[in-house]
């Protein structure tokens, strides 16, 4: 079998243009790789038949853009018309959407080829993709380790070089955290940058779809495709069109960077801190200034995040009731039983707990005590970032507090999965863009990422920064080792 999928997208594009290869070569190679790496459990549903058919059809078409014929993997909470979309839940085990998400329409317009739907935490609730009804995916760097989550399947898929690109979604770190664990580049765009129409909602005011790729430039290129104002999403932003790669290659000398003290406090493990400190040194050597600052409320972010997401989720997931679609408890004796048993048997434990707590949070007077107050503090968190960005170009920190842990390790504490994302949640609170960039390895040779946060709609600057650092570090991020030699 060929190794075209190890090439950069630009190189693949040139081969396609010069007719040296056909889209079907890429698709067959992707499915071959998926089969050989089936233990990674990256996919819930493969789109093999349709993908091969589409690849054949593309042979008659002109290669009109960079992503033409490129295999892509889609997180399974993004609706694909006629292609099963499960949210990794029994509730939607047999659910075939009757419409395409806006990002899927954009991907189809560019003739990318959807290879399959990737594994994830059930309804994106979790931080290691272990809440999936279809079993957890495995980390390509070490299959006994977690991929992170909730976009674990997408991150592992790109990391394992099964497809060069994937889409994930990020409510409180769900793109960036697995990207860090798996050694790939993941971006959570500014809230409103990418249409959420067709993304099955978890926390509506935090969710955002974003690209997961092998390197920064391809990430920027993919964002170029999926971004944009959508009339179907009132929260999507109207912006002048821009090329997110436009600053890539430019020097980052003189840039001012802030590190909140909380992000390097004792919540962070030594293996992560070592890599982070080394990165700070590198940045200083590159001519950046790095200051350590205090930012208010960062230590409260998990609490605020829990309240907002669980409350919003309790509403968003209320529609799964056995009436219109999805799992429906057979022969219920009455309406109440249809509801309560459909939801008892259709949802997994984590989902049930979170929507129960979410209902509690909004119940009666609790709404004021918890939800309203959380929204007030959320506003303060946003303002403290606004203040930081008055003085600094970027705020940085580690992505996760530790390296990827063992898949078998059980955490009885239901808060653990929230704590995993403590460093990346603030960005969702404030609606900022955040980039997860691999910057080193732990002594166990597991990837460690850097989290870079920028002011809203400054993705191009994030990519400039990320690409410059990526080039400087020049890490080998292929978990299979030096396959190319």
């Amino acid at each position: 079998m060929s190794n075209y999928l190890d090439l950069s997208i630009k190189e693949i594009n040139n081969l396609l243009k010069s007719k040296k290869i056909k889209p079907i070569d890429l698709v067959e190679e992707a499915f071959d790789r998926i089969e050989k790496s089936s233990s990674l459990n990256c996919f819930i549903t493969l789109n093999k038949e349709a993908a091969l058919k589409q690849a054949k059809e593309l042979e008659d078409k002109e290669v009109d853009n960079l992503f033409f014929g490129i295999p892509i993997a889609i997180k399974d909470n993004i609706c694909t018309k006629g292609l099963r979309t499960t949210c990794a839940s029994k509730m939607l085990e047999n659910f075939e959407p009757i419409y395409d998400a806006t990002v899927i329409e954009k991907i189809n317009e560019k003739h990318m080829i959807i290879i399959g739907k990737t594994n994830m935490d059930e309804f994106a609730m979790g931080s290691c993709s272990k809440t999936s009804y279809f079993g957890a995916p495995r980390n390509p760097w070490n299959e006994s380790k977690i991929t992170g989550g909730s976009s674990g399947g997408s991150a592992a898929c790109v990391s394992g070089r099964l497809t060069p690109i994937a889409l994930g979604s990020d409510t409180g770190g769900s793109i960036r955290q697995p990207s860090s664990f798996c050694g790939v580049v993941g971006l959570k765009p500014t809230y409103g940058r990418v249409s959420r129409f067709g993304l099955i909602a978890y926390g509506s005011s935090l969710d955002q779809i974003g690209p997961i790729t092998r390197n920064v430039e391809e990430n920027a290129e993919l964002l170029n495709i999926i971004c944009g104002k959508d009339e179907k999403d009132l929260t999507s932003a109207k912006r002048d069109s821009e090329d997110f790669t436009r600053l890539i290659g430019k020097d980052i000398k003189g840039m001012k960077i802030a590190v909140p003290n909380y992000f390097v406090s004792d919540i962070v493990s030594k293996e992560v801190l070592d890599v982070f400190n080394k990165t700070v040194e590198t940045l200083r050597n590159l001519g950046c200034t790095v200051d350590y600052i205090d930012m208010k409320y960062l230590e409260n972010v998990v609490t605020i995040y829990q309240i907002i997401t669980m409350a919003e989720a309790s509403g968003n997931l209320a529609r799964f009731d056995g009436v219109k679609y999805g799992y429906s408890y057979p022969n219920p004796k009455d309406l109440e039983e249809l509801y309560t048993k459909t939801r008892q048997l259709g949802f997994g434990d984590t989902v049930k707990k979170r929507i129960m707590v979410g209902s509690f949070i909004l119940s009666g007077e609790n709404a004021k005590i918890y939800y309203d107050k959380a929204l007030s503090i959320r506003d303060d968190i946003k303002k403290s970032f606004d203040m930081a960005f008055e003085k600094y170009d970027f705020v940085i920190g580690p992505v996760v507090t530790s390296e990827a842990y063992d898949l078998d390790e059980e955490f009885p504490d239901p808060s653990k999965s929230f704590m995993d994302d403590v460093l990346v949640m603030p960005v969702n609170m404030a609606g900022l863009p955040g980039l997860s960039l691999p910057v080193g390895f732990s002594p166990n040779h597991l990837p460690i990422g850097l989290h870079v946060m920028a002011p809203r709609f400054e993705e191009a600057k994030l990519y400039q920064f990320g690409a410059f650092l990526e080039k400087e570090l020049n890490l080998n991020l292929d978990p299979r080792g030096d396959k190319n030699e």
Binding site: P97, I200, A201, T235, E312, S359, Y371
Partner: protein, 470 residues
């Protein structure tokens, strides 16, 4: 019994007259085959998001303005969470914290003069599915899911069934004439829920909510029924729990649906999928200035034009007639015009089961007819004769009169003939002036002979008398 005081508060849901739904662009149509006016948003599909229909904001604002409300210029929507099959997302998007209008009022006429019924708030929300119930199953039609509504909530300001009926009639008139809603209770585009309680003291007693009342007059019946039922219970020394009852129009009574649990727990929170909607001062001003003419304004115009009170109310009862009549304000004699519209033309439309716009009656023809009647060129007997042609043929009124061989002469022509007859019969003129009443009959006969019967006799008499007395 008479020492009990009744207290009534009313919640009205009115569907807005838009082409599409509030949060999706599927059609807002009544009476289509079940589940054929939907899209993924109306069905509550996972991943879908609401959009915001501008006409809903426009009509909602109009409604708030005619109800004299203070306007919330910085509006947001909220989710109201409750599980029910007619609620596709199991939350309804509504306005809880920032209703479009608050602190308004509607003025009604009572025996003791005018009374203001205060409006607590008016908010915009989405309608639910329509459900049909069989023995063990209910059937859902999503065509109505997402139809825009305004909910109008009064303070508990009404103290009798009559006041409640007057309020609803007035409210209906306001919404209808502001072009906000059809307000067809029978089709469900206006729905009323009443909260009724009775008490011997100023302290309010337990209230009972009555739903599903199919007409305004039945609201009165339902309230009277509840007054009597509740008083009878209190007189027996019994009490009851807050409850919801439905009106049954077969027995004209109310039937218990459910006893209310301790407070509804709707778990409201701000809808994150819909950013703020800001109403600018200019927009509010413009909407106010462009409000369609209200029923009250129309009454004034009609009364000023000399139309009698009974006919004025008849016109106001029929929005189509009122709109038609309004096209001719200050152009023609509105008394004659309204008599035609309420009389012969109404009878014709009734007989043929048509609307005005389905007939061949053009504005020009209507103006001619009214003017001819006004000037005496034709009389009502002749109008009746030509009515069918007026409504059905493309011919002008003159042509129709021609076809019927009716040549009613114009005033000028008639005056010419009168003058000629006067000149040619000086003796008869002298006789008339000497007090011989019979002389005028002779002159009349001469004139009618000259006009070959094509002049309006009343006009001839009037003009002749006028000219003889000069």
């Amino acid at each position: 019994m008479s020492n009990y005081k009744t207290t009534v508060g009313i919640e009205v849901h009115a569907e807005l007259k838009t082409k599409t739904k509030i949060f999706s662009d599927s059609a807002n149509h009544y009476g289509k085959m079940a589940n054929t006016c939907t899209n993924v948003i109306d069905l509550g599909y996972p991943g879908t998001l609401p959009t915001m229909n501008e006409e809903v904001i426009h009509l909602g604002l109009r409604a708030a303005l005619v109800l004299n409300c203070e306007i919330n210029k910085h509006m947001h929507f909220d989710r109201k969470n409750y599980f029910y099959p007619d609620n596709p997302k199991n939350y309804q998007i509504t306005q809880n914290r920032t209703p479009i209008g608050v602190n308004g009022y509607v003025e009604i006429d009572t025996e003791n003069g005018k009374k203001k019924i205060r409006i607590h708030d008016i908010h915009i929300e989405e309608d639910t599915c329509k459900s049909i119930h069989a023995d063990k199953k209910s059937m859902l039609d999503y065509n109505r899911a997402g139809v825009p509504l305004v909910e109008i909530v009064t303070e508990a300001d009404m103290n009798s069934a009559e006041e409640a009926v007057k309020y609803l009639e007035k409210l209906r008139e306001l919404l209808l004439y502001a072009d906000v809603s059809d307000c067809k209770i029978e089709e469900g585009s206006m729905r009323c829920d009443c909260n009724v309680s009775v008490s011997k003291t100023d302290k309010l007693n337990t209230k009972v909510e009555v739903k599903n009342i199919g007409s305004i007059s039945n609201v009165g019946v339902a309230i009277k029924y509840e007054e009597e039922r509740q008083i009878a219970l209190y007189e027996k020394g019994e009490t009851f729990k807050e409850q919801t009852r439905r009106f049954d129009d077969k027995t004209m009574s109310t039937i218990l649906m459910r006893v209310k649990e301790t407070g509804n727990d709707y778990r409201y929170f701000p809808e994150p999928d819909i950013p703020f909607v800001d109403l600018t001062d200019e927009y509010i001003k413009e909407t106010k200035e462009n409000l369609p003419m209200s029923a009250e304004q129309r009454r004034e115009v009609y009364k000023e034009a000399g139309i009698n009170d009974i006919n004025v109310e008849k016109i106001i009862q029929n929005r189509n007639i009122s709109d038609y009549l309004n096209k001719f304000i200050k152009k023609i004699n509105l008394v004659i015009a309204s008599n035609l519209l309420l009389g012969d033309i109404a009878a014709y439309l009734n007989k043929t089961e048509m609307n005005l716009d389905q007939t061949k009656l053009t504005d020009e023809k209507f103006e001619d007819v009214v003017n001819y009647l006004d000037s005496g060129k034709i009389n009502s007997k002749i109008f009746k004769e030509i009515l069918d042609d007026v409504m059905e043929s493309n011919d002008s009124i003159d042509k129709i009169l021609d076809n019927h061989n009716i040549k009613q002469m114009g005033e000028d022509e008639v005056i010419d003939i009168i003058n000629t007859v006067i000149e040619n019969n000086p003796q008869s003129v002298q006789d008339y002036k000497n007090g011989n009443e019979r002389a005028i009959k002779f002159l009349m006969g001469q004139i009618m002979k000259e006009t070959k019967g094509n002049a309006n006799p009343q006009m001839v008499t009037d003009k002749l008398t006028e000219l003889l007395n000069k």
